[in-house]
Subunit: 347 residues, 3 copies
């Protein structure tokens, strides 16, 4: 595909993009380091500008103000990341799943109701009274328990487990090994032992949710745990029972949210963030890596640290802490000087 054709698709997608230099044919997209002769590459992070010197790419997508050496052809776009995303979709597309149809080695309960065009592998289990929409793919080793409801166009990668009576919207994708709707840590103390409370709620995932690998999302004790439409999770994320996450959130790997938390829309939690139970996190909140959120967070706030505080305060405290030994020295100096003054004044 010629750069000009790709550029046209970018423009169709609402981006302002122009070709500069030779209108080359590109066949794929790759990093600056790994690109071969027919590859388009890109620079969005200024950290990688230097690699422009040595790339073997046929062309690069760059932002405003960047001009590669050697007259390398470019597609210029103010948002090179968005532009190259378009190029990847056009030139490569999304993963094509193996086509099993309804494998005769899958374990499908006779009371399960599957929609049109099912793609269920051997070694997958669909239990009693499950309903599943059209065009769903279920990889080997998945277990979809009794009474689960799955929408249209969902993909369960290998070894995903959905506990009984949980609900998935349309176009939900769950990566390998994730577990949805397991019992939360619901025990009542009784005579210094832990008495198990039946976990009779469920977990409900909205439309267009994507969950990474080896995550665990508790069912609610009562009612439901909710993951809002369009929300995306990285890997190894834990969501506690009864927690409700809003739409279009982004949670990075190893985030842990305790139970009964309410999280708004468009919330970004960076890697290893933890959120204590029963809190309310407002719309648009952003928490930096490893933030430990132990109180409610106002909409739009950016927090950092453990316990998490507004990011400017967290940084100020951190820098002050780093200089603390020096300040302690200055306190000692002051004490000496004050003692000297006192002596001089005959105290």
């Amino acid at each position: 595909m010629r750069l000009s054709q790709l550029c046209a698709v970018m423009v169709e997608n609402g981006l302002k993009a122009t070709v500069e230099g030779e209108d080359r044919v590109v066949t794929g997209v790759n990093t600056l380091d790994d690109a071969g002769g027919g590859d388009l590459s890109f620079v969005s992070n200024p950290k990688y500008l230097r690699a422009l010197q040595s790339t073997s790419a046929a062309a690069v997508v760059v932002g405003d103000g960047v001009t590669p050496p050697n007259g390398l052809p470019i597609i210029r776009c103010a948002d090179p990341y968005a532009a190259v995303t378009v190029a990847i979709v056009v030139l490569h597309g999304y993963r094509k799943h193996p086509q099993w149809g309804l494998s005769d080695r899958a374990f499908i309960h006779p009371t399960a109701k599957l929609g049109a065009d099912p793609n269920v592998a051997g070694g997958a289990t669909i239990a009693a009274k499950v309903t599943m929409g059209d065009h769903c793919t279920v990889y080997p080793g998945c277990y979809v328990a009794d009474g689960v409801r799955i929408g249209h166009g969902c993909t369960l990668y290998p070894n995903v487990v959905i506990y009984d009576h949980c609900v998935l919207g349309d176009r939900v994708t769950i990566h390998a090994g994730s577990v949805i709707g397991e019992d939360g840590l619901g025990y009542a103390p009784r005579d210094k032992k832990w008495f198990k409370i039946p976990q009779i709620g469920r977990a409900v995932l909205g439309d267009d949710v994507e969950i990474g690998a080896n995550c665990t999302i508790d069912r609610a004790t009562l009612g439901q745990t909710e993951i809002g439409d369009g929300t995306k999770f990285g890997n190894l994320i834990v969501i506690g029972h009864g927690t409700k996450i809003g739409a279009d959130c982004l949670f990075v790997g190893q985030v842990g949210v305790a139970g009964s938390v309410t999280v708004g829309r468009h919330v970004t939690l960076a890697g290893q963030v933890g959120v204590a139970g029963h809190l309310t996190i407002g719309d648009g909140v952003r928490a930096g890596g490893r933030a430990g959120i132990s109180g409610d967070v106002e909409p739009g706030a950016e927090v950092l640290g453990s316990p998490a505080v507004p990011i400017e305060r967290a940084k100020r405290s951190f820098f002050a802490l780093q200089k603390l030994p020096e300040w302690i020295q200055r306190i000692k100096d002051l004490e000496r000087e004050v003692a000297a003054l006192r002596e001089k004044l005959g105290e």
Copy 2:
């Protein structure tokens, strides 16, 4: 079931409970927000008192001093959480597993010895010389390796893996995707490479242990890793090789305990707590969320922070740290004033 009948069961369970208002029939338990016409609900956390105003529940369980508006019938109990637990058990009960018997699509080694009433799904594997007690349920995708010993009444949810020669007591429940007895990180450095030490020990789980989803419990290098009777784990918990955890502990999600640690009884570790290797944690210790325990902890202590210190000290340090920029300003002010005094005294 009438409120008075439910109340009677609560009393049988050792709770002091009384009905106030109409002796309604309830058919289920739900949250204040989600409760429908026949549902019993409850308030134990004062944070949720407000929701009493708008609930559609037929009745609520409340603690002392709480009176809902509109003459809503109540069951009053000093411990509403315990009372509603009883109600959930009576009205809903625990999960009923699918009944597979001994599926002819399970992989059962001829030398495995299964107790009475086995419930083993297609796609589960029971390897050589396994012994399994009566009334055990093994979901699809589980792998029970050579020589594992499982007690009576155990449940392995889908895709649980028990490595060779590990031991489970009676009534052990392991949620989906958890792995018991994998090799720990046992390597000896040799010529700047890592030489693998055979991990010949095992992991042993006591009676009534419940393990969350996607946890990993290392086998010991030598001897055994132990999880005490009645101990309960959340999800994504890591236990290192040779660590011994006492009875009736509660570990919340994403806790990580390194190897060769000794943990007492009734220890509570909140979410994302980490414990370094070779430590001793006394009976009854409680560690707050994200605590990083890097030294032995005395029995009964409550710790917080990373590195973890007694909770009062952790809080004091945290508040002092937050005010540190202000204290630095006050040091600067003092320096100015002392300089002025010195000048005045002709130094």
Copy 3:
């Protein structure tokens, strides 16, 4: 086997070792506490010297300067940990896998090419165009996706998932439930929604890599995520897309490394360490437990804390922080004294 024979093997392995006392026969290796009559045990950590008093071991491996009571026979070696490793290998060896050959209940795609002596269990799936070297073991529930390339002598424990087109070197071991090559968190923001970027790269694991249980290693968006030869991972570790880890690293449980990070050789990350995206970590770096690495780290540095700083600075700051309330008191005292001096001077 006699102590003298074992000792000879240790010497063959390059260790200086000598027998002192009776040349007993030993049949196994165990901890001091668990050792029975025929067992060899060892002390490498001085913390456990006391247990020498009460052990029932037949003999012990000890370091220089340690002499057990009661004339217990010993193998003395400056590095007792290395010596006992040799003993464990000799007396116990490594795990013997069940022998399935090529199970007729495995799901093997006709286009997959398997090397000599395959050992593939029932319930394992080898998808289209996979190539697998000689002497590989694949446990039940594993899913090896389209186009994956696996070297010789690899072991995939149960329920391991390798996404399409990923590459494993020779003698790679992956423990149960780990996922290699899942899509990373690659989304472009578009109209306040997250637009999925096809993840067309792959993950490549070098020779002699060992990965713990329930880890997740993202494929790259473009190009490849890399794990260097001889690198070993604990459990529940997350590696982000496009990250490149050098050879012979050791990562302890629950480590999380974000995307596009470059990690050198011989890097040790202790438990729960987090590394932010796009950083460079030099050769030989060591990060203490829970370190939060938010900037590049020089080769050979040892860091601690969150954000991570050189270990001496981290410790100094921590101790200063613990004493901070006391220093604040001293500032208040100074303020009082200076005020008194000012008054005295008639200001």
